[in-house]
């Protein structure tokens, strides 16, 4: 851990090396551009849906990132935080970062779905099981963010939020299986279905695959960056803590204690 002022973009965030982060970011941009190009100009329009089918390259990948990558990672890291042997604020920061990304992507899922729904179903919104459970998922994780904002000790907040994330994650399988359980209006699983033969072909399949890769890269990049933000916030907190520890020591006339060499911020847990 370097002392003194550090350029934020060069901060070692403990997840990925800064150079690699930049590479991932660049790859994400390139692959999204490629997906857009392939999606808009190369792939053919659909027989039934016409040009609308092009949303297929956006909507499912976005949904997949939100549900499985972001919220899955959040739940996993929350679990690891709660488990005594792996308890570390690292997992808490990771969970927070991925929930933030997840909320954004969840909102994007709703928006892209709505845009798609308008021409195909004739309405922006219907009270279909998948749609509503997706909307609930958003509220659940907004609740998580609200809980995070309540002022508390970092450890206490971490524990509280971890429980909230795990409880909220219960909704994810519901979203996934909603189409099966309730025979809804929404598409059945076409890509993530059990028998892996995709029901679409050719350039479309490849573009869709690229879409998944592109949004996954974007997800990774965002998580890394937001993790960095969390880390910087924590570092600022640590620095504030160091300052207040100094002030606190100055309140008595003992001066700095002997055992206080090195970082006073306490054990990283």
């Amino acid at each position: 851990m370097k002392n003194g002022p550090v350029k934020s973009s060069r901060v070692n965030n403990g997840l990925v090396r800064p150079r690699l982060t930049t590479v991932i970011g660049a790859l994400a941009v390139v692959s999204i551009a490629a997906t857009v190009w392939l999606g808009l100009w190369v792939t053919p329009p659909d027989k039934v849906q016409g040009n609308l089918v092009r949303l297929v390259y956006i909507h499912p990948p976005v949904a997949w990132v939100a549900l499985y990558l972001a919220f899955g990672l959040a739940a996993l890291s929350s679990l690891l935080y709660l488990w005594k042997r792996t308890r570390s604020l690292f997992w808490d920061r990771l969970a927070a970062a991925s929930v933030e990304v997840g909320v954004v992507f969840n909102a994007l899922t709703l928006v892209s779905g709505s845009i798609w729904g308008r021409p195909t179903w004739g309405v922006w919104w219907t009270w279909d099981a998948r749609l509503t459970s997706t909307a609930l998922l958003l509220v659940l994780f907004v609740g998580y963010m609200a809980l995070r904002r309540v002022p508390a000790d970092p450890e206490i907040r971490a524990r509280r939020c971890a429980v909230a994330a795990l409880v909220a994650f219960v909704d994810v399988p519901i979203v996934h299986f909603s189409v099966v359980w309730w025979h809804t209006l929404h598409q059945n699983a076409t890509v993530l279905n059990p028998n892996i033969t995709p029901t679409i072909h050719g350039s479309m399949a490849w573009t869709l695959l690229l879409g998944f890769v592109a949004f996954t890269l974007l997800f990774v990049w965002m998580v890394v960056r937001l993790y960095q933000v969390q880390l910087l916030k924590d570092r600022i907190g640590d620095r504030e803590l160091a300052i207040s520890l100094g002030e606190r020591w100055a309140e008595s006339d003992l001066g700095t204690p002997v055992h206080a060499e090195g970082a006073p911020a306490g054990r990283e847990r």
Binding site: E155, R248, E251, P257, H259, G266
Partner: protein, 238 residues
């Protein structure tokens, strides 16, 4: 100096505890032997309440060591809480229940005999109509007396008393001294904080001064020691 015989009841080494982002305890070094009465003095904000709460496993210690009654405060707060009793600034009582019900509830939770509630309340002067008045309606001092009665009935191994004299009337102040002495001589360890040294120091074996979240000084108190001096020095070293 003799060798360490028993581990101390309270052991803090370089303990830092955070309240929010603020180091309420900023590196506490402290050992208190079993059966001792220690009083904490210090200015407002010195960290007395925080230290007592840390001893009850309520304020998580984020760095350094903190071992209470042989249990690590971080690893096993539940076990500690079973064995300590805390009188805090605020009284932890159920306002809708009356003193008898409150003390009985505490006793049941501690798996003690509920018959101990009545003598304890009696002793603290919660008698007659007060026994059946919901504690939410009692006066400030009466509420504190109910909490003390709960402690007395439970007789925990470690008493943590945060400014116990505050709000009590003259006769109860006197009684409090007797209760502390009784607890200590029956083997319990007692920690108390106070802004009234003239009352607290005579009760104590050790007078510990806090400032800025640390221990900054120590003198001996006025408690007539029953144990021999050798025993004393042993415990201090431990």
């Amino acid at each position: 100096m003799s060798t360490k015989v028993t581990p101390p009841a309270i052991h803090f080494r370089a303990a830092v505890a955070l309240a929010g982002r603020f180091p309420a305890l900023a590196g506490v070094d402290l050992n208190v032997a079993y059966g001792d009465v220690a009083v904490f003095l210090g200015a407002n904000g010195a960290g007395k309440t925080s230290l007592l709460r840390a001893c009850a496993g309520l304020l998580p210690v984020t760095s350094g060591d903190a071992v209470i009654l042989g249990c690590d405060v971080v690893a096993d707060p539940l076990e500690i809480r079973r064995r300590v009793g805390l009188l805090g600034h605020a009284a932890h009582l159920y306002d809708e229940l009356n003193p008898v019900e409150n003390v009985r509830f505490v006793l049941r939770a501690a798996r003690s005999d509920i018959a101990r509630a009545d003598p304890a309340l009696q002793r603290l002067g919660i008698v007659g109509r007060l026994r059946k008045t919901q504690v939410g309606r009692l006066s400030a001092g009466q509420r504190r007396r109910v909490v003390i009665a709960g402690l007395l009935a439970r007789s925990p191994e470690l008493w943590l008393l945060d400014e116990p004299h505050a709000g009590l009337d003259a006769s109860t102040r006197e009684l409090l001294g007797v209760l502390i002495e009784e607890a200590a001589s029956s083997g319990a360890t007692v920690l108390l904080s106070s802004h009234e040294p003239e009352l607290a120091v005579p009760l104590a074996d050790r007078v510990i001064t806090l400032a800025g979240g640390r221990v900054v000084g120590e003198t001996t108190g006025g408690r007539k020691r029953v144990r021999s001096l050798t025993e004393r020095s042993r415990a201090d070293v431990a």
